[in-house]
Subunit: 329 residues, 2 copies
Amino acid sequence: MNVIALDAMGGDNAPFEIVKGAVESLKNNKSDITILLVGIENKIEAELAKYTYDKTRMKVVGASEVIGTDEVPTVAIKNKKDSSIVVGLTLVKEGKAKAFVSAGNTGALLTGATVIVGRIKGIERPALGTLIPNKKGFYFLMDAGANVDCKPSYLVQFAKMGAIYVENMQNIKNPRVGIVNIGVEREKGNALTKEAHELLAQQTNIHFVGNVEARDLPSDVADVIVCDGFVGNVILKYTEGFGTAILSLVKEELMSSTLSKIGALLASKAFKNIKRRFDYSDVGGAPFLGLKSLVVKAHGSAKARDIVGAINQCSLFIESDIINKIQND
Amino acid sequence: MNVIALDAMGGDNAPFEIVKGAVESLKNNKSDITILLVGIENKIEAELAKYTYDKTRMKVVGASEVIGTDEVPTVAIKNKKDSSIVVGLTLVKEGKAKAFVSAGNTGALLTGATVIVGRIKGIERPALGTLIPNKKGFYFLMDAGANVDCKPSYLVQFAKMGAIYVENMQNIKNPRVGIVNIGVEREKGNALTKEAHELLAQQTNIHFVGNVEARDLPSDVADVIVCDGFVGNVILKYTEGFGTAILSLVKEELMSSTLSKIGALLASKAFKNIKRRFDYSDVGGAPFLGLKSLVVKAHGSAKARDIVGAINQCSLFIESDIINKIQND
């Protein structure tokens, strides 16, 4: 029985969408999971009362505090011991749950996870992995923002953890690993990427394909792409912001004349397909890899469907025994 | 009389489009400019023979060698003393031209410019500025790739030079200056951006608006946005690659059914407008700021219209006396 703890209070749509996602998850999930809903009990119970579900597989674990999105992570983790994030992470630490999912304060979740759940022995820095859409599907970006100042050796570990994750979760054998750089030539880069490139090229257990220029990120040149968390955060957020900007520009232009409005109407199915291509919901959240158990960051705007995706992701992660594979790598 | 040197051999479409651009520039340019076409004489003369133009304002300066796009910059600059890039930069150094435009090897141009033209006294590192499209128009990104490892003080100089450039070239009074960061809060960032933020906040002669998250880059939050050259290169190239990928995805989807094809036809003017919004041609090339004279990097795929844009940019730059303004800042 895989027990998954879920922060019922995290994100813009908590607790409504989170609890709804948990209920849907139990209905759909083929594997044998139990969900621990962590948060303010009466609020969670009020939501649960709206549904019928298997009560033996859904428990509420009380946590009287909530960490807000604007709180300073280190301070919040230290002061709010009875927050849903701290209580959820503690369930994982104590072995009462095998994974924790939260759509709450990212910094607090990452800080808390490192302190409470702890790193796998030998892992210098856990990293946040995230799937970014490309022309073919997605690539896995490590690190998307957990470590803004990195040493070259961190990037090698990001590459190895990323490859194990993608191989097991996306079922890609011997995934291609690239490093974000300013040119494709080996000697290109800043101090970090030049040294990281050399170290990556020496690894025998990953399929390193070399430097990836940012212009080629959308072209399916690698399955795992490593970079420091500052650059990764820029890529992640720019993908979101620039993608939204272009699509809103297209919409604005299409609405500017009657002819183009009719055109847009006729092409509406095509536009829906494009939107679907950028839809993350089914793939779950961003795993924080390198910890002794799985911690998943769901998007702050997560809805029920995203929560279902994240729970499925946890199930597959646990069944694939990824923690042990990282540990023994 | 403003003399502008132009690398006739640089870029994918040299010398044809470069020479064509030079001829068109003389026709259109209202100000009193003379162009020095630098490169292999018989090739340039053969192109020039196709046009009628004011021969008193167009001269050919011989340079027997060409630096290829794949050559290692430092080696090429050292060994190819009679290359169009080295000869063109030397014309600027010797005061025979006030600016140099090249669509050739970026690394060679930047390395050569720093060595041959030289830095303005007090400028620690010259930086490559580039206009990136946002929802309203463009913002000026400094540094787009010249300095991949930066100190905080460099970013302050990038900010000042960028503000002077935008104020004079784009006619924006008191331009807003932001810094690329992983969060809007002052304390966010890596070691570089945290310290650079503090230094920028202390400046009295720039209008510093604080951190800019990558998701807000397209939202017209600042006129000048500074970052190290590694991050800037990622933003520049990702803008190109991701923009192209989305538009090709839209095209692909629209071509997938008869109905959407008709839709696309009806909306074709709207799509043309979108393309125009992302068109850089009129704004010229990327200025390399912080040198004793102006050096402009035109896009490798530059066509005649881009060259006209770059020449106009040089005229305005010279007339605005930007070098002196940077020097006296």
